[in-house]
């Protein structure tokens, strides 16, 4: 049961990376959309794409947290006490991003939209970096079990963390560009589609190079993780590379909907590769913490599984409706704007 819940938690991490990661990426593209006049259509496309869904996408993160502290309390306590600095920064980034996005839509004057837009875009860049950095801290075994036993600074300021932070930002931008290409085409803006296709290609190549360079860094900085990635998790790592290459080919071939699938697969396999490489250790550093050691008692696991089961039954149709409603209809400005 503990492994099932762990898999569910990891699936939520994956969905968060694929959906909210792309929302962060879209915010970063907002930052790079150019001056107010020429950038207006790009910004409108971005806002239209993420407006109805970003809050729902964001909830996956909360979901990961509550599952972790319910089913694996010592893991949650160890990670959040040692890595409290990047976590606090992520929290502040989440605040700045969400409220600035909502405020930008609510105000009408240009200078105000500029300020809120800048806050939104900047925090879209910073927040995934720190999320990636703290993932790197956990993956490289710098978070020992127990309360605040690791260094509160080097646990997230180290080669693997910097790498995974950069990778998180680039991945989000790549996914966002891929998704936006199809959105732009569907809304009848072929010029924007061409632009975002170019950006997706650029971001894809960069992300791929970063990932390959990353393997070198991991080999030097986190040998245990490297051994796992090149050992048990090798098929997933290879699949990720193949999906990444396939995405670039499909982008060149302008198969925008299919490329969504392969791009998402390329990202998801990296996350699952990390998971498989480390399993059954949740914390791989000195002492370590395995699934069995961290799992809550059977009564809690059972209650959580039942609740999650009931919740999923309610959730899936609701989510399906949300995405279908806003993917089906064309580029029509939302009413309450």
């Amino acid at each position: 049961v503990a492994t099932t819940l762990l898999a569910l938690m990891w699936a939520s991490v994956t969905v968060y990376a694929l959906l909210a990661g792309a929302d962060f990426g879209a915010g970063a593209w907002d930052l790079l959309s150019g001056r107010t006049g020429p950038g207006a259509r790009r910004r409108a496309l971005i806002e239209h794409a993420i407006g109805p869904v970003w809050e729902a996408n964001h909830v996956w993160l909360i979901f990961v947290l509550v599952l972790m502290w319910t089913a694996f309390p010592p893991l949650f306590a160890a990670v959040s006490s040692t890595l409290y600095i990047p976590l606090t920064l992520v929290a502040l980034g989440v605040i700045a991003r969400g409220s600035a996005f909502a405020f930008r839509k609510a105000v009408t004057e240009l200078w105000q939209q500029r300020i809120f837009g800048a806050a939104f875009a900047f925090s879209s860049l910073v927040t995934p970096f720190f999320l990636g950095a703290l993932a790197g801290g956990v993956a490289s075994g710098r978070v020992p079990p127990g309360l605040a036993r690791g260094s509160v600074v080097t646990s997230w300021l180290n080669p693997t963390s910097v790498l995974s932070g950069a990778l998180a930002v680039m991945t989000g931008m790549y996914l966002a560009a891929v998704y936006l290409t199809a959105d732009a085409r569907r809304s009848g803006q072929p010029d924007l589609a061409a632009e975002f296709r170019r950006r997706a290609l650029g971001a894809g190549v960069l992300t791929g190079l970063l990932a390959v360079a990353g393997l070198v860094v991991v080999r030097a900085d986190a040998p245990r993780l490297y051994a796992g990635l090149t050992g048990r998790a090798l098929p997933l790592v290879v699949l990720s590379g193949a999906a990444g290459v396939a995405s670039l080919v499909l982008l060149v071939a302008r198969r925008y909907l299919l490329v969504r699938v392969t791009a998402a697969l390329a990202v998801a396999t990296v996350l699952w590769g990390w998971g498989v490489a480390q399993y059954p250790h949740l914390l791989s550093g000195a002492g370590g913490l395995t699934v069995a050691q961290a799992a809550a008692g059977p009564a809690t696991l059972q209650a959580t599984t039942i609740s999650v089961g009931v919740g999923v039954v309610l959730l899936v149709p609701s989510l399906a409706w949300l995405f279908l409603l806003f993917q089906r209809s064309g580029h029509q400005p939302p009413a309450e704007r």
Binding site: P52, E55, A56, V59, V66, S80, S81, A91, L92, W321
Partner: protein, 468 residues
């Protein structure tokens, strides 16, 4: 809003500084940060729970009667709800981070006992966010009836998530669902922990508080506008709908509040003693109003003979436990704060009850709201009063539980994250929230003022009228 949060900050900082405990932990900074960010979030959370019902009510009336003013109100309120929900969602996320960043010791030991309601709340919040996206962005894409129905899950999920989160707080006040054998946690029953003895009264009390905060806060916006001379039908409706809603909730809340107080008297006698500033246990205990507590005595309070005994036990000789019944280390240290916060909450609640009664009386006799300018003035301040009452109640339950984070089980000082430098987090959070408060109020004011309401709208004008 900020003043309240500031007061909370001061209160919790003082509270924390008086918590005794060893270790390298920094409970002062942690308690201040939690008090500040939770005190801030709770206002938005209340509006997020209460507002959807009013938006739907206005939309439903507009749909049934074809009255364009209702339709306009529904769209305006939905717009404000969108902003408030976004800010509430992100400030709530911060709290879930803080559960670990600040209270790693609590979650490490008791996460398996009390995590479940948060997991369920996660789903409720998820449903809320999904349907809010559908509701706000689907206004002109869905048929009116479907659109109206798509709002129902927001109301239900909002109330449900408030319920589940409060069960966790109720558990901290009335911990059950586990046993500790030789320092090890065994026999964990998360369902029993969730439905503990404090859950019923506390959750009902908070959900009604959310309704009251929403009703009076929204009414006060229109009262201010009417005091400035804008007395058209749009503003009258905007005042009457939420005010009626709040006024109906108030008498129910007072009955529930009595229930909650009795529950505290049974399960947390020391918190009740702090609420009443009662030092010595005994019979024939007077009800004390106001004053300050110092040197084991309540000074300058107005005392009603046998009042407390009568209120709690319906008998003048009812026995009430005082602070002295516990060792000094186990007593709440800030008795004056708890006592005055309790009196503030009750006093404001009675004031709001009178405001509602005034409205009811005028309606009963003249079929219209009171014409007195004092009625508008009272309504204009009722929003702030409801928020202050709610925050006071929250101070009572949190500061009154000191020095415990889990009553009788775990002390605050043993629950805090021992990492160095937590006070910098406090500084950063206070700075960001200060900016956020200013900007939120500014944006909401712009939403309320932008685009003057058309003089005499025809139906077509209003349906073509985009809100901002």
């Amino acid at each position: 809003m900020r003043q309240v949060a500031g007061a909370v900050l001061t209160a919790s900082r003082v509270a924390a500084s008086q918590v005794t405990g060893g270790g390298t932990a920094d409970p002062v900074a942690a308690r201040s940060q939690m008090g500040f960010s939770l005190g801030w979030h709770i206002i938005l959370a209340c509006l997020g729970v209460g507002m959807p019902a009013l938006v739907l009510l206005a939309e439903w009336r507009g749909w049934r009667t074809g009255d364009p003013w209702y339709q306009l109100l529904a769209r305006r309120w939905a717009k404000a709800l969108g902003v408030l929900f976004a800010v509430g969602a992100v400030s709530g996320t911060v709290l879930s981070f803080e559960m670990g960043v600040l209270w790693a010791g609590l979650m490490d030991n008791y996460g398996s006992v009390i995590g479940l309601p948060f997991a369920i709340e996660g789903f409720a919040f998820f449903i809320e966010a999904i349907f809010l996206g559908i509701y706000l962005y689907g206004w002109d894409r869905l048929p009116p009836k479907v659109h109206l129905l798509s709002g129902v899950p927001i109301v239900v999920a909002g109330i449900a998530s408030a319920f589940f989160v409060v069960t966790a707080n109720a558990w901290m006040n009335s911990p059950t669902g586990f046993t500790i054998v030789n320092g090890r946690l065994t026999g964990v029953d998360p369902w029993a922990a969730m439905f503990n003895r404090a859950t019923g009264p506390e959750a009902t009390h908070l959900i009604l508080a959310a309704f009251m905060v929403t009703g009076f806060a929204m009414a006060s916006v229109y009262a201010v506008a009417m005091l400035r001379g804008r007395t058209d039908r749009y503003h009258r409706l905007g005042l009457l709908i939420p005010l009626t809603f709040g006024a109906i909730m108030t008498p129910i809340q007072i009955v529930v509040g009595d229930w909650a107080t009795r529950s505290v008297a049974t399960d947390q006698p020391l918190k009740l003693a702090a609420m009443e500033g009662l030092n010595t246990s005994g019979r024939h205990v007077p009800e004390s109003i106001g004053g300050y507590f110092s040197g084991g005595q309540l000074h300058w309070a107005l005392k009603i003979p046998d009042g407390l005994s009568l209120l709690l036990h319906l008998s003048p000789s009812g026995y009430v436990t005082g602070l002295q019944s516990a060792p000094a280390d186990d007593r709440p240290s800030l008795v004056t704060v708890v006592h005055l916060a309790f009196d503030t909450m009750v006093g404001l609640g009675v004031g709001l009850l009178l405001l509602g009664a005034w409205l009811a009386l005028a309606w009963w006799r003249h079929r219209q709201p009171p014409r007195s300018v004092w009625f508008l003035r009272a309504t204009a301040v009722s929003g702030v009063a409801a928020v202050v009452a709610m925050e006071s109640g929250w101070i009572v339950t949190e500061v009154g539980r000191q020095p415990w984070i889990v009553y009788g089980v775990l002390r605050v000082a043993d629950a805090v994250n021992p990492a160095p430098g937590l006070d910098w987090g406090l500084v950063a959070v206070v700075a960001v929230y200060a900016v956020l408060s200013v900007v939120t109020v500014y944006v909401l004011r712009r939403l309320a003022r932008s685009r003057p309401v058309p003089e005499a709208p025809q139906e077509s004008d209003v349906t073509g009228y985009k809100v901002v």
